[in-house]
Subunit: 117 residues, 2 copies
């Protein structure tokens, strides 16, 4: 049977808000808020702050995952959101979540790919 | 300053080895082995097995992340490997890891995207 998992957005954005790129705490609040507001289900998470600044975070969802890696020294972040359509079409949520993340980080989009997996 | 994080491969593959797609234990052994052999540094991980079969796994690395989501009922998996080039060019390792994962799962590639982030 053919099954198409869902939409995956990958983006790089720059931000001059170095504070938000340096530590994961505010991002964690954002991700938790997005998971609640978009009615997603978290099954695990990793938030790792690097000693010299910047962090990496991945949230595993029933619907797949959200990830971010930040490079405050380059004023840059790479962001992914991939939601499968197992129970319903989540494509719109993928676009909305990316938009909300970009807005939160005061980001300027440098590159974006949208892949139907 | 312009900084290009690195290569990200996203792939969907099918496999008739339902056992490997159903539970995360063998995949965890594989990922740990790949992290060692490619001299990567793990900073966190999530392995979540779903009650009805299939699993989702993400390994956070200093170099970014590896993830897999499986749908044994569709004989399908979605796999990501993204390694940043912070300390060295890891593009070759990205290709090698994808190839080793595909081989391990006895996978048939259905779709592959390679994005220079």
């Amino acid at each position: 049977m053919k099954y198409s998992p869902g939409l995956h957005i990958l983006a790089e954005f720059s931000s001059s808000n170095i504070g938000l790129l340096s530590k994961s705490s505010h991002c964690k609040q954002l991700f938790n808020s997005l998971i609640t507001s978009h009615q997603l289900e978290k099954v695990g998470e990793v938030y790792h702050d690097f000693e010299n600044g910047g962090f990496t975070a991945v949230v595993c969802l029933t619907e797949s995952h959200i990830s971010i890696h930040t490079w405050p020294e380059y004023e840059l972040a790479t962001f992914d959101v991939f939601l499968s359509n197992y129970k319903r079409d989540n494509s719109k949520k993928v676009e909305e979540i990316y938009s909300e993340v970009l807005n939160f980080f005061e980001g300027i989009e440098r590159q974006k790919s949208a892949i139907n997996r």
